[in-house]
């Protein structure tokens, strides 16, 4: 029987390197994908997801088992990514300004591909990807809620635990994220 994440974390706290390796194997893809979804930069995502594992290795003893291991670990990843975004905010602003100055179209200004046939998979992919491109312009917290709730399929109570906020606050982030996307992309035809 495979040991649970929580049991492995307990063994990591006791200095078991093999248990750490096992947790890395289980979570490396999720941690990297989560970091990339928030940062949209492969290099930073690799760096910060690895840093999250290093923190896990160093502070496994502080996991008290009150939450699920995945929630606790996601929190490590998300906090590192949001801190990184806060520290590099000026750089992102500068980069975004430069992009506009060089005439690169902003995803929010993109129109749907003209004549895109809904049956055409490439056209559909392009239209669908716009929604995530637009999500890149949301605040880091709003995007983190979308990533955790929609992509990682965490219920909102768990999203709130990962973000370290009340569930009501997480709901406000979700509402504002969807309202922001609706405003950016225009009214959607209900599916």
């Amino acid at each position: 029987v495979e040991p649970s994440d929580e049991a492995l974390c307990e063994r990591v706290a006791a200095g078991d390197d093999a248990a750490f390796e096992r947790l890395v194997e289980r979570y490396q893809q999720r941690a990297y994908r989560l970091a990339w979804s928030i940062l949209r930069d492969a290099e930073d995502a690799r760096d910060l997801s690895q840093e999250a594992f290093v923190r896990l290795f160093q502070s496994a003893g502080s996991f008290r088992g009150r939450a699920k291991f995945s929630t606790w670990f996601y929190r490590l990843v998300v906090n590192l990514c949001l801190d990184h975004r806060r520290k590099h905010r000026w750089w992102h602003r500068l980069f975004a300004q430069e992009e506009r100055a060089t005439g690169d179209a902003s995803p929010l200004d993109d129109q749907a591909a003209p004549g895109a046939d809904p049956g055409d998979s490439l056209g559909r992919e392009r239209v669908l990807a716009r929604v995530w491109e637009a999500a890149d312009r949301l605040s880091p917290q709003q995007r983190a809620v979308l990533v955790l709730h929609v992509q990682e399929e965490l219920p909102m109570t768990e999203v709130a635990s990962v973000l370290g906020c009340a569930e009501a606050t997480a709901r406000v982030h979700l509402h504002r994220a969807l309202a922001g996307l609706r405003a950016a992309l225009g009214p959607k035809e209900p599916a």
């Binding site: 750490f20 390796e21 890395v24 490396q28 990297y32 994908r33 990339w36 979804s37 492969a42 995502a45 690799r46 690895q50 840093e51 594992f53 290093v54 290795f57 160093q58 992919e125 669908l128 990807a129 929604v131 995530w132 999500a135 979308l146 709730h149 929609v150 992509q151 219920p155 909102m156 009501a168 709901r171 406000v172 979700l174 509402h175 994220a177 969807l178 309202a179 996307l181 609706r182 992309l185 009214p187 959607k188 035809e189 209900p190 599916a191």
Partner: protein, 161 residues
């Protein structure tokens, strides 16, 4: 129509509300066309987001784990500061305290017997020529010229002679 339950609409659209809250929203929706439109639009957006989840560029996982192992090992080794500042074992502390006590006792100015003091002055007086040759001593490389240091007395007397 009662106040629009704005913040709950997104959670409702994503199917995240408990039965009681869901029932409350549904009774509001039955009477509010504006909120029904919002919910429909939110659902369409959530569907798109779920279907079009972008995939990150895949890293080389063996390399990823090797880098991670190196980072963990680097943090595992205590820094030089931590090594020097870590608490000394009790025996080492006791030995250090004893050494300090001995040095303090020896260095303490004491009244020495006059005959001992005379011997010391005599010895010092005999070495005075060495002080005259301070320039020679100053230029000696302590490790390379060990032989010269051993024969300093002879060197001093040669120069005198």
């Amino acid at each position: 129509v009662s106040t629009h339950p704005r913040e709950a609409l997104a959670a409702y659209a994503s199917g995240d509300l408990g039965p009681q809250e869901r029932a409350g929203i549904e009774s509001h929706l039955a009477a509010c066309a504006e909120c029904r439109t919002t919910v429909a639009e939110f659902r369409a957006l959530l569907d798109e987001l779920a279907t079009a989840t972008p995939a990150p560029p895949e890293p080389s996982w063996p390399r990823y784990r090797a880098e991670l192992r190196a980072r963990v090992d680097a943090r595992r080794r205590p820094s030089w500061r931590a090594r020097w500042l870590r608490p000394l074992p009790a025996a080492a502390m006791a030995a250090a305290a004893a050494a300090v006590a001995v040095v303090a006792y020896v260095a303490m100015p004491t009244e020495r017997p006059p005959e001992l003091a005379a011997i010391e002055y005599e010895g010092l007086a005999g070495r005075l020529p060495l002080i005259d040759n301070y320039q020679v001593v100053e230029q000696l490389d302590l490790l390379e010229d060990l032989d010269v240091i051993r024969d300093l007395d002879r060197l001093a007397s040669t120069r005198e002679g």
